[in-house]
């Protein structure tokens, strides 16, 4: 393995690290709120990654203020657009998750999903 | 002759059977006349068709361009179809008397008649897919017949039957797929259809698949280790056990094995390989195993069922010899076993139905009270043992001849197994006979005062079967010649 590239691409590495942190939180945490936080970290990591990819050092956003320059002067706007879309998606998903969590908490007064499952079994539903 | 009749004989009982519970019969007799008439008509049609075999084939339906439901009569199909067509009317007749006291008669006869059509479908199938389809269907339409009494036992038995059968079919299915892919054609062709060029270096895989397929189909033929469903299924009413579990269903399994062995994979492909030895060893083991279980069993129908297990493996053994003579042996035992086992089952059924006694030790002195039934039973028992002059000897002779000619040491062991099995057969059949005819010195006949011979509807089948047993035994020439001509088609 060539770790030299790791230093060059440290941003990507950070994004991946964040992704893993988020992913494992979402997967392993028992507490629902923490899971949701994990989810957000994970999504953010992806957006960070996308944003990094979309930015080329020294170029501007393609917002035309003072006349069109050469294409080389701007970065591709699509990645940024994707990030924005992604954020919308992740916000709505988080909202839904939180709503579900509230429902569960009202019903079972706990945020631990496993415990809820055992309660459900006791309920015999 | 028009090929469409092939489909007619299969569909007529299926449709006619469905009508049984729907038609507004005023009384039992009307239903009887309808059912018997239907079955007789269909048998007559089928036999007429078998005598003037239509040359071509009839395609009923196409799944895909190469998967069809198509029918064709050839020699082997003729044998099976003839057995079935001859036995069905008799058993329906018997069933009328037997079922008098059972509930849900109409449903029973519906499925009983449908099974006729499905069994003919297996016999007349032109290709391996058609046979597989009807094979599966057979499982399904016979299921309600086993469940018929709806006792806990019956439900359990039907479940076991279903699992075993479907499971077997699942493995057989693998074989069917291989035949479809590696065969030149899915149609049954004497000597097999495998395209050896396409097989290439996959011979061992194909042999493994053959073994799986053999074992899959032989589940219905109750080969060890898949034999335990058959004795359990004995809870069904006797017309079912007699006809289905001694002839139609189990023979369908054996028939399918013969089809894939001789007409799809091809005997030349398998002969002399480890696959042949595996299947033959299994068959040989079952021959002895079934008999030993029969000796241990005291419930009379279950005892006969174990005996069927053993006898079916005679057929499988014949099939596993994989020479034309082996086919002759297997087919002749198929015929012979059909008559003798159905006869003994019907006797057992008559006893159970008329007296409610089900265990061997309850049959003391019955020979004097039900002389006709037990005379028939004795003849059937002797035939099963292989006494010369009765049909069992003829088929056993053919089987052993094939085994000896094959010069395979394992086949020699098979011959020994046949002999052991014959001895065990003597034990489990003759103990019943001796008990019935020669009760203990102090036996009090008043305890079985109510026992007497059943009515003509039961006795007529007995008479016919006994005559058949003796006739085949004494004059086997035409039968064997016919079977040899079938085997002669093999390359």
């Amino acid at each position: 393995m060539n770790f030299a590239n790791l230093a060059n691409n440290y941003e990507e590495a950070v994004a991946m690290l964040l992704f893993v942190i988020g992913f494992s939180n979402l997967l392993l945490q028992k507490n629902l709120i923490r899971k949701i936080i994990g989810l957000n970290i994970m999504d953010t990591a992806v957006y960070l990654f996308l944003a990094l990819k979309g930015y080329i050092a020294g170029r501007k956003a393609p917002i035309v203020v003072d006349g069109v320059q050469s294409v080389k002067a701007y970065v591709n706007p699509i990645p940024s657009g994707l990030v924005l879309t992604g954020i919308v998606v992740s916000v709505s998903v988080s909202a839904l998750m939180l709503a579900l969590t509230i429902r569960l908490y009202r019903r079972y007064h706990t945020l631990d999903l496993d415990e809820i499952t055992t309660r459900l079994k006791k309920e015999g539903l | 002759m028009n090929e469409a009749i092939l489909a007619v004989v299969i569909l007529l009982p299926i449709l006619g059977g469905v009508l049984v519970p729907l038609l507004p019969f005023k009384n039992r007799t009307q239903m009887m006349v309808y059912t018997e008439g239907l079955v007789l008509l269909n048998s007559a049609l089928a036999l007429a068709m078998l005598f003037h075999r239509p040359e071509g084939s009839f395609v009923l339906f196409r799944f895909t361009s190469d998967l069809t439901l198509s029918f064709h009569v050839d020699g082997m199909g003729t044998v099976f179809a003839a057995i079935v067509s001859l036995l069905w009317p008799l058993c329906v007749l018997y069933a009328f008397e037997y079922m008098e006291h059972e509930k849900h008669e109409k449903i029973f006869f519906m499925f009983y008649v449908i099974t006729f059509g499905v069994t003919l479908g297996i016999a007349l199938a032109e290709d391996v897919v058609t046979m597989y389809c009807f094979y599966e269907m057979l499982t399904l339409v016979t299921l309600p017949l086993i469940m018929h009494t709806l006792t806990r036992e019956a439900v359990l038995a039907s479940r076991t039957y279903l699992y075993y059968s479907l499971g077997g079919a699942a493995f057989a299915f693998i074989g069917v797929i291989f035949i479809l892919i590696y065969g030149k054609t899915p149609n049954f062709t004497p000597g097999g259809v495998l395209d050896l060029a396409a097989v290439g270096d996959r011979v061992n895989i194909l042999l493994l698949i053959y073994v799986l397929c053999f074992m899959g189909f032989s589940v219905k033929a109750a080969m060890w280790p898949f034999s335990s469903w058959l004795p359990q299924a004995g809870v069904a009413p006797t017309p079912v056990t007699a006809l289905l579990h001694a002839v139609a269903v189990v023979k369908a399994g054996a028939f399918a094995v013969m089809r894939v062995t001789y007409f799809s994979f091809g005997p030349d492909f398998v002969r002399g390989t480890w696959a042949q030895h595996v299947v033959m060893a299994l068959a040989i083991f079952t021959i002895v195993y079934g008999c030993s279980r029969a000796v241990k069993e005291t419930h009379i129908k279950r005892r006969l069922a174990w005996s069927t297990v053993s006898n079916l493996s005679y057929i499988l053994f014949g099939a596993a010899i994989m020479t034309p003579l082996g086919l002759v042996g297997a087919l002749s035992h198929m015929v012979a076993h059909a008559v003798m086992k159905i006869c003994s089952f019907l006797c057992a059924g008559a006893v159970i139905c008329k007296t409610g006694r089900e265990y061997v030790h309850q049959l003391d002195g019955f020979g004097r009270k039900m002389p006709k039934v037990f005379a028939a039973f004795t003849v059937a028992g002797l035939a099963l043992m292989g006494v010369p002059g009765l049909c069992g000897f003829v088929s056993k002779w053919q089987l052993v001849r094939a085994a000896v000619e094959s010069r395979d040491p394992l086949a020699y062991i098979g011959v020994a197994a046949l002999m052991i099995s014959a001895l065990l057969t003597a034990i489990y059949m003759l103990t019943i006979v001796v008990r019935a005819f020669f009760p203990r010195k102090d036996f009090d006949y008043d305890t079985i005062r109510d026992v007497k011979d059943p009515g003509w509807k039961m006795l007529l089948p007995f008479a016919i079967f006994v005559i058949a047993i003796v006739a085949i035994g004494l004059h086997s020439r035409p039968l064997i010649q016919g079977l040899e001509s079938i085997a002669a088609q093999l390359p």
Binding site: - | R368, V387, W397, Y412, V434, F438, R440, D442, S476
Partner: protein
């Protein structure tokens, strides 16, 4: 076509079937009436007449068939190339004649004896059928036909064994059945192989084995033949399938035991003769391990049978073991595969048939008259039934082989055959075993005579009816009764016994025609 030679087969079988059917029919007519009721005297007498008439006619027919030249008849094809085929040759003659004579004699005897067993009609029905089947067996002209009638013999003779219906009898009958079946199937196993490797299964003196075909398959053929020897040996009481004999004989009615051990056991011998000398051919077996094993088995059986008989207190069982031993004499004679040995064997077939029947008939008389079955009960019995006892003594002497009684002749030939057959160590061991066995035979038969005539005190035996069947006599109480009762059986019982005993001696005195006949047979096959 000489279809008439089947008359002695068909006639008794038909007659027997009619008896059985009329029994069933009558039962039906009488409804629930006690099925085991005693038939009245008149009925019984007509029954006896019927039986004797049938037997006599068929016996005469059988003799006529036997001694009117070569006959053969093909009935129909059982299987392709395997007809049901009858052929009368010398072996058939020997067996048919001997069986007919003995059968008739035992029938006379049973008329009286069977009174105390009951169910006569059933007994005679099967008795006649078995006779017919045995005739068919003797006349069988090929292996499959013989096998067919061999099986039928087993099946039809089984009811004779279980006649009295006790639990032991039924168990013994089943044992007999299954041993015989086991043997028959071993035989069938061999037949399958012989069918493949022989030119024909029709009996041909000297064998029909096709040695070219057999080339390379000798091992399996030898195994098959050995299986047949052991299998058919079952009926002849050869080791290892001998155990049915001692079980079946004590429980069967004495006439049945007599024919079982005198005649039916010989069916096994007949089958072995047919297989070895008429299908396989003695040359194929000579010097192989099969011959060695066969000889070993027979000698073991001879010795073991005698030993067991020696130790056995129940008289009929003792006789049964004796049969085990004696029939193996015959088999030993055959196994050496020499003409002299075979002559001896054939002679012993006839002699043993006569002698053993006689012995069993005496055993029956003891049971019938005194209800005694155990050897130690016979003390002093000779004084009350001297005629019976003399017959017993003569028969015993014949069996032991004391010159000039018949047994001597056959044993002489047997020993000589063994010595000159060139079978190595068996040439010495064989005669030695025969000698030891003869001594043992003397040891188990003669003490009965001595203690019967010389009880060493006053012992009186009562009639069976007075103290119940099988009960021991309380001798002390009867001591003062004065003169002991005459227990001599009725003439109908005594006469057949006397005839047989006389035959046992006379055949020994004038053996030459028989020896000539047997020698002719032996010469023809080797």
């Amino acid at each position: 076509m000489d279809a008439w030679i089947l008359l002695p087969v068909i006639l008794p079988v038909l007659a027997g079937v009619i008896l059985l059917l009329s029994l069933a029919f009558e039962k039906r007519k009488n409804g629930r009436e006690q099925p085991d009721r005693e038939p009245d005297e008149a009925r019984l007498r007509s029954l006896h007449r019927y039986v004797i008439a049938v037997l006599a006619v068929s016996g005469v027919l059988a003799l006529a068939v036997s001694f009117s030249g070569e006959h053969s008849v093909t009935l129909f094809e059982l299987l392709k190339g395997i007809p049901v085929y009858f052929h009368v040759d010398d072996i058939s003659r020997l067996f048919a004649a001997a069986i007919s004579v003995v059968w008739l004699a035992v029938a006379f005897y049973s008329f009286v004896y069977m009174k105390h067993e009951g169910k006569e009609q059933r007994f005679y029905g099967f008795y006649l059928i078995v006779y017919g089947v045995l005739m068919a067996l003797s006349f069988s002209g090929n292996l499959v036909t013989m096998y067919l009638f061999y099986e039928v013999t087993t099946l039809t003779s089984m009811p004779l064994v279980l006649h009295n219906g006790s639990r032991e009898a039924i168990m013994a009958a089943l044992k007999y059945l299954f041993y015989s079946m086991c043997g028959a199937y071993l035989g069938l196993f061999g037949i399958f192989f012989l069918y493949k490797y022989c030119d024909t299964l029709t009996f041909t003196a000297g064998g029909t084995l096709n040695l070219e075909l057999a080339q390379g398959n000798v091992t399996i053929l030898l195994i098959a033949v050995f299986g047949m020897l052991v299998g058919f040996g079952a009926k002849a009481g050869m080791l290892p399938l001998h155990a049915w004999l001692p079980a079946a004989h004590p429980v069967a009615p004495s006439p049945a035991s007599a024919v079982l051990s005198g005649v039916i056991a010989k069916a096994g011998v007949l089958a072995i003769i047919r297989v070895v000398f008429y299908v396989v051919g003695p040359d194929f077996l000579r010097g192989t391990w099969v011959q060695t094993a066969w000889m070993t088995l027979t000698l073991l059986t001879v010795f073991m049978g005698s030993m067991m008989a020696f130790r056995e207190p129940v008289f009929k069982k003792r006789l049964a073991y004796s049969t085990v031993s004696q029939v193996s004499y015959i088999l030993f004679g055959l196994s050496v595969l020499s003409p002299v040995g075979m002559t001896g064997a054939l002679l012993h077939v006839v002699f043993h048939m006569v002698i053993k029947c006689a012995l069993f008939l005496t055993a029956g008389i003891f049971i019938f008259q005194c209800g005694e079955t155990r050897v130690e009960q016979f003390r002093g019995i000779g004084k009350q039934m001297p005629k019976t006892f003399w017959c017993y003594t003569f028969a015993s002497l014949a069996l032991i082989g004391i010159p000039p009684a018949s047994g001597f002749i056959s044993k002489w030939y047997l020993a000589q055959g063994a010595l000159e057959a060139g079978v190595g160590v068996f040439g010495i061991v064989g005669p030695a075993v025969l000698l030891v066995s003869a001594l043992l035979t003397a040891g188990y038969l003669l003490p009965i005579t001595t203690s019967g005539f010389f009880p060493g005190g006053i012992v009186k035996h009562g009639k069976a009816e007075e103290h119940g069947t099988g009960a021991a006599v309380d001798r002390n109480e009867q001591k003062d009764d004065g003169k002991a009762a005459n227990l001599e059986p009725p003439l109908a019982m005594l006469l057949p016994l006397a005839v047989l005993a006389a035959l046992a001696i006379l055949l020994g005195l004038f053996p030459n025609p028989l020896i000539g006949f047997a020698g002719k047979i032996a010469a023809s096959v080797m």
